[in-house]
Symmetry: C2
């Protein structure tokens, strides 16, 4: 999150003065015009004493909105400092999904202590949310949503909503549950407001709404919500009982996180993190090193190929001059193809059943690119080495190496997908390293044949 | 968009039968329970005749919702087939942002003809939206939003909203404009519903809402909306006059598009496209070839370095065996560092002012990784070449090359950012190719020194 966004920086001195003077009303008025995110962003500028003062000052629901946007460290700092009444209030008021995230970070003792002072049902809620894997629909959903019964009228439903709306984060979709808490329909607040107040919900609602199973992976959840252009989707358990909702703003975070993960995988940079600046250099090094070692070991084979063909190098040293360009270009062509397929799979544009279509396409692409690229190397060899036979070797190797690169680069992510592995592990560096072995073998093979070494 | 999502596939035969029998009411009832996206996804399964029948059958606003989710090709096909009354209705009913996107695709003559049958104000609206660059806030915003005056009461505002809501895509934020259409405040529908009906909007609204300038780039827009966790943000012109809103679902598309763009850049795959499957192989080849040639030319320098030091290779052929692993590992380490910084900049976690902090960190990371990686090559040289002096050369070169890789890999994206270039152009392949030149020079320099060639 970028601090530059918060407009509160400009009035920080003024706020600090008002806190010193304990001008309660004025302070409340000032904060009303800012978004919770903005306020959370400047919290670091206040002393712990000032923070606690502000949180005691604000209404519980406003305090909870700001609190939810803080880092978990700041949250814990504040919670362990404010008095028990406020602590209890805040813990009960927090959005269930944000609260569960906080509890994940607490030590078992502190979690237990916090749970003991909370309302029974809220504590139960925390325990239930924590029982789902953090990257599943259950792990990211919130349990508070607007619910009505199908035999209510629109007017009654609106009245019901007015009573519960204050505590709800998302009131814009209203879910119709039967007596067994099974989801039977949905309607939007817009539809409810526009409807004749006498009309029954049963007549207004859309039946069989789209649902997310509680066990679904968050990446799939994000794809669904993005696909339907909805503000939220309901989450149900295996019996169709509605357990919660996932809202679009949670999904944006998931999309960002999943994209970072994909990019880190694609760059073979190990375990991803959105906190590069905060992470220790040794941790980053450790994360990256694993991949470098794996790639290095794969790279040994390139060395073995070179060693095997060293007689060719000894007899024609200038063969070595074209090794870098050949390895680089085929590696790059393979990276391009792999990237296109990995991304296509991620956004759902390329599908597993297209596998042969894709590979055929990439062979063709490789051929089209290989001809001019081979041509350039041919000309280079004629000019610099004055050796057209060597040029033909390099050019021909280049063509074959590039076709191999594009076809293998596109095939590998698809094979991973079929084997239920993440296609993104076929990263640029991995495909480059694998292709080096192929390119060198092709190059030496072609050269030995043409140059009759 | 993945076709698998649409639940309508299961009942397609039934629908086709109902169309054949012209069962109007039953058809309307069936479609009510599906999302517009789902219906749009199966449109390709119907004949043009069936499509036109369905679009004539549906209410205008439902027809518009489905129409907006179709490909532009399908939209044009339907628009040019349905009768003029329906065409006029549909064109007037479409969401302004989606409609402007459609008009971008039309030939000038067809656009002119369509504009001539539309309502004057709607036609004016299309022209205005088309005057903004397509990737600016103005280019992605919609011009329809809920507006009230500050001296209305909450009850009056709700009544006003009831009248206009039917035509609005987003009714959940209500914008308070003054007589000059300047934005003075905002409140949510939730707040409006919860408020005392007698209370003045002036007292309820949040003043000085966050706004987006009409000229802001869509990437920045997406960051802001994601950052604030809001469902929409208002767009204003240079005079503070409110021009439209950008909703969170538009932003999800932008985030996806920008991520694809970044990944394509990072993979040096040229112009990005989310339509890999549809694009012709020759077009893809052309897009990628530009980069391969640029990289190939940069790679020539590696060849020149090799040639310059060929005397060393001639004297110790086994030096060549370690070229692949050295080039690969430094290229990979550089890619990892570049990727972390490019991603960090994209999500706003790394900032330009952190430049020296980042480079210092990466030098340290490079050092930590270089020692074990150098060690492995040392052992390899001792075992396979039984030459510990060669091993020391390779190990030492590896260490220096990796530190160079991580520091340069992190520095280049930051330099690009400072020069107002897109950091993502410092792609994996580019950094790899640049680092090859460095690695080879380091390797030969070190070897000549230690081996006294």
């Amino acid at each position: 999150m970028e601090k530059e966004y918060s407009r509160i920086y400009l009035i920080l001195p003024e706020i600090k003065e008002l806190i010193a003077k304990k001008e309660k009303e004025e302070l409340k008025e000032i904060f009303k015009d800012y978004e919770p995110v903005e306020i959370a962003q400047v919290m670091g500028e206040f002393s712990l004493r000032e923070k606690v003062y502000l949180f005691s000052l604000w209404d519980l629901d406003f305090a909870a909105d700001v609190f939810e946007k803080l880092d978990e460290e700041e949250q814990i700092e504040i919670l362990t400092t404010i008095d028990d009444v406020k602590k209890r209030g805040l813990l009960n008021e927090l959005a269930p999904d944000e609260r569960a995230d906080l509890f994940e970070e607490l030590s078992p003792e502190i979690a237990e202590r916090f749970l003991s002072i909370m309302k029974k049902e809220e504590a139960q809620d925390v325990k239930e949310l924590m029982s789902y894997p953090p990257t599943s629909a259950g792990g990211i959903m919130t349990t508070e949503f607007a619910r009505v019964r199908e035999n209510m009228t629109a007017g009654e439903a609106l009245e019901e909503l007015r009573k519960s709306a204050k505590d709800l984060e998302m009131v814009y979709y209203i879910y119709v549950l039967n007596e067994k808490d099974k989801l039977v329909g949905v309607l939007s607040l817009k539809e409810l407001i526009l409807a004749d107040p006498e009309k029954k919900i049963k007549k207004l609602m859309h039946r069989n709404p789209i649902t997310l199973p509680v066990t679904m992976d968050q990446e799939e959840v994000a794809k669904r919500i993005a696909n339907y252009d909805l503000l939220a989707l309901p989450v149900v358990d295996e019996n169709g009982k509605m357990k919660g909702i996932i809202t679009v703003d949670d999904v944006i975070d998931v999309i960002r996180e999943e994209n970072t993960e994909d990019m880190y995988k694609f760059g073979a940079a190990g375990k991803h993190s959105e906190e590069y600046m905060k992470m220790r250099a040794t941790t980053i090094a450790k994360n990256r090193l694993t991949w470098l070692v794996i790639l290095g070991i794969t790279g040994f084979f390139s060395g073995i190929v070179m060693q095997k063909f060293s007689f060719a190098l000894e007899s024609v040293v200038s063969l070595a001059f074209y090794i870098p360009v050949l390895m680089d270009t085929s590696g790059n062509a393979g990276t391009q193809a792999a990237m296109a397929v990995v991304r296509g799979l991620a956004i759902g544009e390329v599908r597993l059943k297209d596998i042969w279509l894709v590979v055929k396409k990439e062979i063709f692409i490789g051929g089209i690119m290989g001809i001019p690229l081979g041509g350039i190397t041919l000309i280079r060899a004629i000019i610099f080495q004055r050796n057209s036979l060597l040029g033909v070797c390099v050019a021909f190797s280049m063509l074959i190496a590039i076709v191999t690169a594009t076809s293998l680069g596109s095939l590998l992510p698809l094979v991973c997908k079929r084997l239920k592995l993440d296609p993104a592990v076929v990263s640029g560096p991995l495909i480059t390293t694998i292709l080096d072995i192929f390119s060198l073998t092709i190059y030496f093979g072609v050269s030995i044949f043409f140059l009759k070494i």
